[in-house]
């Protein structure tokens, strides 16, 4: 048995050190303030803010959301306040936080990604960048870039060359082999990979035969996608040299542990925040309980410890 003091949840993500492996996923936690009275952001491993673009974006027309079995489809279209408003209105509140603040960024062109990275570089209070090349809900950039390994390389290179901050590349699951885009991001110098973004999907209202989302296609998140996410994280950790952040449908401590066991060094919680705003705090406490119950002192003793039979090990 270990007492609380002897349990450590701290993890290293390359150049980024987190006091625990529980982050929030971009677009599900606003700019940190929205849930702050329930979830003090300083208790999280890191805060990842809603994707920022150079100019404000109004987003897609409604309806933008539809609930499906164990999941939700969304097509927000990267609505955001734009870089200038973010720096003036949102960042001052985030700056004093004693945990890393990760800015998710998005551009319409390779050059825009580079320009955003340059403008965020050296901003007091920004501790890492997460490149969004995986949003399925925009016509330019986003998944269009993230599903083409040559574009992944170009975008990540553009960001890498313009910042000294740790760079996270967020991958789309909407590809045949996610290890190819993972490698492309790595070759371009990403420090960390995060996966998965939402899975492309759609739903139809049969009464009027119209799509449920105005944008027709959206991104599926929530517990329905967790097995897909877990499989992809597992595939990527086999080939990646950089640390991996796992996300996709994490609702409970057990879900988080599955990602850590297959080899994710940290996890992000997204849609679950909407259902249970306290979920991140519950997972942090749950990880401690698990470590104690299993006789571990350090979360790193769990990461990447998937037990495979010899036969199973040969099949991947």
């Amino acid at each position: 048995m270990h007492n609380d003091e002897s349990i450590t949840l701290a993890v290293d993500l390359g150049p980024l050190r987190l006091k625990n492996p529980v982050m929030v996923a971009s677009g599900t936690f606003g700019y940190g303030q929205e849930y702050a009275t329930l979830v003090p952001p300083e208790r999280l491993g890191a805060v990842v803010v809603k994707g920022i673009s150079l100019e404000p974006r109004a987003g897609n027309p409604p309806p933008r959301i539809w609930e499906t079995c164990g999941g939700m489809l969304n097509s927000i279209g990267l609505q955001n306040v734009g870089l200038r408003n973010f720096l003036q209105e949102k960042l001052p509140w985030l700056r004093p936080l004693p945990v890393p603040v990760v800015v998710n960024l998005f551009g319409n062109t390779v050059e825009e990604y580079g320009e955003l990275a340059a403008k965020l570089n050296g901003q007091d209070g920004v501790n890492a960048l997460e490149i969004n090349i995986s949003c399925p809900n925009v016509k330019a950039g986003g998944m269009v870039f993230g599903s083409d390994p040559r574009m992944v390389f170009r975008v990540v290179s553009a960001v890498r060359s313009r910042t000294s901050l740790p760079v996270i590349t967020k991958l789309t699951p909407n590809v045949t082999d996610i290890t190819i885009t993972a490698r492309a991001a790595e070759d371009a110098g990403t420090d960390i990979l995060s996966l998965i973004n939402t899975v492309s999907g759609m739903a139809v209202d049969v009464r009027n035969r119209r799509p449920r989302l105005a944008n027709v296609i959206g991104g599926l998140s929530g517990p329905a996608i967790k097995p897909i996410a877990l499989r992809m994280v597992w595939q990527v950790v086999q080939v990646a040299k950089v640390p991996v952040i796992g996300l996709g449908g994490i609702m409970t401590t057990e879900d988080a542990l599955e990602f850590l066991i297959v080899g994710a060094s940290a996890i992000q919680v997204g849609t679950a925040n909407f259902v249970n705003p306290l979920v991140t705090l519950e997972i942090i406490a749950g990880l401690e309980t698990y470590l104690r119950a299993q006789g571990f002192a350090d979360i790193k003793e769990v990461i990447g410890t998937l037990e495979l039979s010899e036969r199973a090990a040969g099949t991947f």
Binding site: A58, G59, P61, P62, G70, I76, G222, F274
Partner: protein, 272 residues
């Protein structure tokens, strides 16, 4: 304003008409803070399907001092509300709230017109009680429309508060036959004074017509709007409604119904 996540005890959960239920909830902290027109995100089941919380307006707050309990009124329309209708008294339900910007009092006393379509009646009794209790003398009028007589619940409550109530049903089973908005314009033209404020809640097409009517009359209106939403606190950006941007410019702008609304000024909504 601080956001509360609390378990409330279900006091009762009874049908009031076909497909319409009212549920009493005991949660002193929320009861003491919630304002008319604000809403709660309710987790109808602790499992992950249905996944998301459902938004409900507060129908009435029981006037204990301080208040400890309140009521929601809901129509069974889908999976979430079907499950909610099965919830038994003494069950504990997780509530997130109070959420959103509610109704504001009028700038001055005078003719207060409330308009409700169907389940759009839900937030209005709380508003009506609050306005009357605050000493505003009115006169007060409620226009209430539904598909049939069964939709027209809690009419007596408004009458007891001193409201004149005008009814309309699509099938003619109560009040005038047709939609509220079909009768409202003619009725308005016969009134000696214009409303100081119009408060309205109902289906989108009704709200649009109400907004058009008040625009023609040059009257102020506050419309409680509905939207599909996931978080209720302004992070998911799902519940967007096309509105005039805060700087009153021409840019495309979507308001979050959960934050800037659900009650919006009629003049701020861009109808499309």
């Amino acid at each position: 304003m601080s956001l509360l996540l609390r378990n409330a005890e279900v006091l009762f959960n009874d049908p009031v008409s076909v497909g319409l239920y009212h549920m009493g909830l005991r949660c002193p902290e929320i009861a003491a803070r919630i304002q008319p027109g604000q809403f709660l995100m309710v987790r109808v089941l602790e499992t992950l399907d249905p996944l998301l919380r459902r938004p409900f307006a507060v129908h009435r707050v029981y006037s204990n001092d301080p208040p400890t309990s309140f009521e929601i009124l809901y129509r069974v329309v889908g999976r979430g509300t079907r499950i909610l209708a099965e919830v038994l008294p003494r069950t504990s339900l997780s509530l997130l709230g109070p959420l959103g910007s509610g109704f504001r009092p009028p700038d001055q006393d005078g003719f207060m017109l409330m308009i409700a379509g169907g389940i759009g009646i839900a937030p209005l009794p709380f508003l009506a009680e609050t306005l009357v209790e605050s000493g505003l003398r009115g006169p007060y009028v409620l226009w209430f429309g539904g598909k049939s007589a069964g939709d027209l619940v809690c009419v007596e409550h408004f009458q007891n508060l001193g409201f004149a109530v005008e009814l309309a049903t699509e099938d003619g089973s109560a009040g005038r036959k047709g939609l509220v908005t079909q009768h409202l314009e003619k009725w308005m033209s016969r009134q000696a004074e214009r409303p100081t404020m119009v408060y309205s809640c109902g289906p989108h097409p009704m709200q649009r017509q109400v907004a058009e009517l008040v625009r023609q009359l040059g009257v102020k209106s506050q419309l409680s709007m509905e939207a599909l939403m996931a978080c209720g606190v302004g992070t998911c950006l799902s519940c967007s409604l096309r509105c005039r941007p805060p700087d009153r410019g021409q840019d495309l702008y979507y308001a979050n119904v959960c934050q800037e609304g659900p009650v919006l000024l009629g003049e701020d909504i861009v109808w499309e």
